[in-house]
Amino acid sequence: MKDYSVDDTDKLDSSVQNNPAPQQQQQHEGDGLHRLLVPDARDLPLIPPSAVESNFVSYFAPDFIKPGHDQYVYRHANGLCVIGLAPTHVAFKDSGGITAVDFNVGRSDRSVLKVTGKRKKNAQQFEPNTALCKVCTNDDSYIVRCCVKGSLLEVNDRLIKLPGLLNSSADREGYVAIIMPKPADWLKAKGLLLGLEEYKKLRDC
């Protein structure tokens, strides 16, 4: 389901056109309402697009700073960017997968930031190569970086207790951070990123 989408597929709503005439009885109203609510199963897609697919445009940064460090940037229509590990990130190749996540990198612990208010005061300004966190496997550790210049709004602190989220759903619940770039900074960053198709081709997946 799209956020604030302009609905061009009317299929699911064919029942809307036959608006039932206003009824007096509660029961009739209930029936009328019910008829509006229940869709025809034949109109439903087998697998619907996910919330991420519907609301974000996916971009990829392959080999970001270091080879094998593939990251994704999901950009929402409102300009916010969700940063995370792409499925081809080298960390996933280590046996046992990711075992720990540490946000205490660079000059501060990213998991203790406090951004407040509509204007997002106190948000730290990060450069594309600023470190967000360190992910560790049994063999090695890898730095995850911003990819886009902007204000850091939030890090996924659930990863501290549940690093396994990166192994099971790095593309959803395992996201790393949310960045808010200025429009000009986004345009600059976008030029260096790959779209979904390009990325798939590059990585043969």
Partner: protein, 568 residues
Amino acid sequence: MANDTKAVHVSMEPEVAHNISATVEGQDISVYDDVRALHDVVQGLPSHVMKDLLSIGVCARCIFRLFGIRGNIYSCSFLSSSMLSSVLGEQRHADEDMVDIGSEEHKNPISLPASEVSEVDAVLCTLCLGILQFTYCDDKELVVKKSAKDMAVAISELLRREWHQIDSFSLEVSIPPIVLENESSVWLYMKRKYGSELCFQGKLLSQRISTVEALILCLAKPLETLLDCKSGASDIRICLTFTHSKALKMVHSVAVSKHGCKRTKTGIENCIDSIDDSVVGDIECSDLAGVTIQRSFGGSQDNGSSQSLKFPPEKVEACHLVFLCYRNPIFFGGRYLKYSRNVSQTRWIIDDERKGEASVEEIVGGIILPMCQGDNYKFHAAGREDIDVRMLGSGRPFLVEIQNARHIPSEAFVKEIETKINNLENKLVEVKNLKAVGSQGWDLMREGEAEKQKQYAALVWISRPLKDEDLESIASFKDMKVLQRTPIRVLHRRSPLEREKIIHWMKIEKIAGSNHYFLLHLCTQAGTYIKEFVHGDLGRTHPSVGSLLGCRAEILQLDVTDVKMDCF
């Protein structure tokens, strides 16, 4: 300028004197009564003070109101300074028992005004700047001199042009602060000079009739006659706003009198309504009294403040007057349903492009407004839903406010409005229970809006087949708490917070022909983000439908099925 007014004065007198004598001869008793009333008032007041005030340019009405005189005297049409002078002159002669004037006048102590008296003052009052002389600057920057009656006629003509249904009106006047300054200056002058005299003992400035009240006394009755209705508290407001180019340069100290601000029924003033002798300063407690004395008389200490604060001023400018007539807004309440997933609640335009094909606000307001012949409308609703979410069931309470309605619809007409909206061709929106409501409609809507529960039906897909146990487990949760971080889709404009919300109950309804899709009926606390509760918003809403069922969940459609509120 002075020359011009003198010329006018000269040319007017014979005509005016002729008119007055003509009406008396024509058996117009009221003029005679007015003359008598004037004499009565004058007799009760210290004549030397009145003459002094006349000499510093204070007009007759201002003099009377400073002494706290009430009654119909203000509306006397010939109450000019020269008239007052003349009456004072006669009275003095009567008192001193001198026969200076012609024998005719001596015989009849209550006499007609002498020939050099004019009805209209040639010179602007130094206190009220012409306001109580019905002299003002119109929007063409021309100085207009009228009588109370003429002014009332002008106002009623303005009203008649647009307003056809007038059964009452409220007259409101706003005057520039400099008039109050002048009042204070004159009062202090009087106190200084005559304070020790008997006539002044125990008198307070606060006992005076305000300029606003005096003007209303002059205009209310003629307007009532012309408009054939009563004046008082009313939805139709006539606002006379006087402004003056000389802004008050000194610090405004907010003086609060014992009457406070209760004068809204009869008038509103630009600033403080009445000034007590003991000025209670608020912000910068500039001693209003002290400063005025320094500046007005002798001017030995020039504080570098503007010339406008000298009293009496060398040159008096008329005030600028703006008439405004408007009606208090009228309200319509009801409930709306939204059948389309492409219609926003309110007008939504970004970069000159409209989002969606229409809005509830424009559909409903756009029909009510012309039927009331109003100027514009405002749409208010108890909560809102996304553009792609339908509003079904009993509908959502809303309020439409119409500004300056020229036509108040009857109950039958309101029904007509409702039918018209519901019979629109595209059937995007439906309205129920539409009716005119008073301003209490606001309170009805806002009351407990945050506590009200909302009911929804969501079309949900899950990544694994639905099991019967799922229906039971989902139904078992009552008043379940969820923690929602500000959804990513609104995070750019809302504070990043974690909000706890309550899901009161949930029920799964299977959909024939599918074991991955189902209808989720749920009832939640106001302010819960339903879409995020279903798909989890990358884990930022917890628990979510997905986490409760142990799989991935997506939402395809959302409908609001009930807004549980008592109003409309």
